[in-house]
């Protein structure tokens, strides 16, 4: 069992908040503060210095995208703060703004529906807390429908690999999902990085950049 995470949870629906708290504690994580709006969220983060923030997009007072804006502001103010945004929208605008905040690490954008797949949800939470990048597969699918350059240069297989990378999967997990060898995945990723003109830097960061360019295109 991985380390217990200290979580600040921002969600205006009482039902959802209670459910998520139960779910997180079921897996040994601790909700150190609950927030029902964006202001409370910012205050709770300042007070509790959590390992990760889990927040809804739409919150009071305007019921627009206060939660997302707070998440973006928090990431700018506190580089390295892991944030997982739970959203009702598959629209890439929101995911793109979140991923553009900070350096693209320790950030996740998942549809709220995913909390139903409890084990996968907790896995994603832990990956984000550990500095990973996670994007909801449904958002990725939406992105893949019409890709314009530079992603047009990628082969269909490479796009599949990139989509799985965007979900925050490791090489081994991508290999399992596509039923190919890990070496083959490594080769695909090499091609993707070259085709996207990503600088030869340390590999993890390039992966993140690849995902970001994927979202921005």
């Amino acid at each position: 069992m991985p380390v217990s995470l200290r979580v600040v949870l921002a969600e205006d629906g009482a039902l959802m908040r209670a459910g998520l708290t139960t779910l997180l504690s079921r897996f040994g994580h601790q909700v150190v503060a609950e927030a029902a709006d964006a202001d409370q969220l910012v205050r709770a983060v300042a007070e509790h210095r959590p390992d990760i923030v889990v927040t809804d997009v739409r919150m009071p007072p305007g019921f627009s995208d206060e939660g997302l804006r707070a998440a973006v502001a928090l990431r700018k103010a506190r580089p390295g703060l892991a944030v997982l945004v739970l959203s009702q929208y598959i629209e890439k605008t929101y995911a793109g703004e979140l991923l553009d905040s900070g350096d693209g690490t320790g950030v996740g954008y998942l549809l709220k529906d995913r909390v139903g797949d409890v084990a996968e949800f907790i896995d994603a939470l832990q990956r984000v807390a550990a500095g990973g990048t996670v994007v909801d597969p449904e958002v990725v699918r939406q992105l893949l429908r019409h890709r314009r350059d530079p992603l047009e240069r990628l082969s269909p297989r490479e796009r599949e690999v990139l989509a799985l990378m965007a979900e925050g999967r490791s090489n081994a997990a991508v290999a399992r999902a596509l039923v190919v060898s890990e070496a083959a995945v490594g080769k695909h990723i090499g091609h993707i990085l070259t085709k996207l003109d990503l600088p030869p830097d340390d590999d993890d960061h390039r992966r993140v950049l690849a995902v970001l360019s994927f979202l921005r295109a």
């Binding site: 629906g13 039902l15 598959i90 909390v115 139903g116 409890v118 939406q142």
Partner: protein, 410 residues
């Protein structure tokens, strides 16, 4: 109008300007009329002159427009355009609508009267009202220098006595001229209002109907938002909580029929969530409120099976009603393109300039889009008309199709 005495108010000046400017449309109208009659009449035997003559029937329409605008010089009450908006875009429908309107014929009558009689009269009055008094008022000057001031062939002011009498006479004429000019302008203004505008009662009713239509659409939009919010806060949240509970239950259930049943229920809950999410997006896309038209169009383009190229230049957000209408236009157009056009690619351009939001939506498909055949186009035109906008479509058989929508953005 204020309480200032008539002679020092703006009214004599405005009336004079109304008369003096009559010569511009008047002379132009007369020349066009004469040229059209000459050319059209000359070619009538060859039949090609007949359309030229027929076009004269519509000559009152542009003249009416100019004259309604000019009427603003002396009449502060807004003048309503008496014409109906054609039911469909296109020249044929426009001609049919105008031909059946009484307003078109009233305008023609006014135009004939105006170009033949009124504007020369106005011009003479405007000149006389200024030139004659001025000539009298300034007559002491040439007389003092030993010359004379000619008024009419054979009539001149040459002695100091005559000049001394001419000055008060000039003053009287100047004042009288101001009243005369104003009376003439007022009479013509009444005539123009009678002939060029919609009958007042009908105009008021039309304005009321237009406003109530706008209110209905805006209430309808507000209702959509409310339904979206209710679904989001209610059903969606409960379903997510349900899915979460079922997910947790599956963790604890040993394999067996009960676990299978719960797994099935869990899958159903997730499918319901997916359907609900699409439904909510269809009712009202929150991204339009949160991020505006360009972002919402981008998402709509992402959902379109035909690749869409986007180009937006909006330096501010249009009013909510216009934004909602523009989004409606875009999603309807993309739906039409997906259903009927067989296009390989489509494009949407949006630009906000000079108080008008211009949308151009095109595709390289088979064309032949026809508003009359129950396609989404007539609904689209209806919706655009509510915010006072206009739609034009070009869709020749074989394509390409181009839709152009202008929405006023105060």
């Amino acid at each position: 109008m204020g309480r200032r005495p008539f002679l020092v108010s703006a009214w004599p000046w405005r009336a004079w300007a109304y008369l003096a400017t009559a010569c511009l449309p008047g002379a132009l109208g007369l020349s066009v009329l004469a040229a059209d009659l000459a050319v059209g009449g000359g070619l009538a035997k060859a039949l090609i002159g007949l359309p030229l003559l027929a076009a004269l029937a519509l000559a009152g329409v542009p003249m009416g427009r100019v004259e309604r605008w000019r009427l603003g010089l002396i009449d502060p009450v807004p003048v309503a355009d008496p014409h109906r908006v054609p039911a469909r875009p296109g020249v044929r429908c426009w001609l049919a609508t105008r031909g059946r309107e009484a307003a078109t014929w009233r305008e023609l009558g006014y135009a004939v009267l105006f170009v033949t009689l009124l504007w020369p009269l106005d011009l003479v009055a405007a000149i006389a009202a200024v030139v004659v008094p001025l000539a009298l008022l300034t007559s002491p000057l040439p007389v003092a220098l030993g010359a004379q001031r000619g008024l009419w062939p054979g009539v001149a002011i040459s002695t100091p006595l005559q000049a001394a009498a001419a000055v008060p006479a000039g003053l009287v004429l100047l004042v009288g001229g101001a009243y005369l000019v104003t009376a003439l302008a007022a009479a013509q203004g009444r005539l123009a209002r009678r002939l060029l505008t919609a009958p007042a009662q009908l105009g008021v009713q039309l304005a009321e109907v237009t406003q109530s239509r706008a209110r209905l659409v805006s209430a309808f939009e507000a209702e959509r938002r409310r339904i979206e919010r209710d679904l989001h806060d209610g059903a969606q949240q409960r379903l997510v909580a349900l899915s979460m509970s079922l997910g947790l239950a599956r963790l604890d259930l040993p394999a067996g029929p009960a676990a299978d049943q719960v797994a099935h229920a869990h899958e159903q809950a997730k499918l319901a969530l997916t359907e609900l999410r699409e439904l909510i997006y269809g009712i009202y896309p929150q991204v339009l409120t949160d991020r505006g038209l360009a972002a919402a169009a981008e998402e709509a383009a992402d959902r379109s099976p035909v690749p869409v190229e986007l180009g937006f230049r909006l330096d501010r957000r249009p009013p909510q009603a216009v934004e909602a209408t523009a989004y409606f236009v875009i999603s309807e157009a993309l739906a039409n393109i997906a259903k009927h056009s067989r296009a390989d690619r489509a494009w949407i351009r949006g630009e906000l300039a000079g108080g008008v939001l211009l949308l151009e939506i095109g595709d390289d498909g088979v064309g032949g889009a026809d508003a009359g055949r129950g396609s989404g186009l007539s609904g689209l035109a209806d919706r655009v008309a509510v915010v006072g906008g206009s739609v034009s479509v070009s869709s020749p058989p074989g394509g390409p199709t181009a839709l152009r929508v202008e929405l006023p953005c105060p």
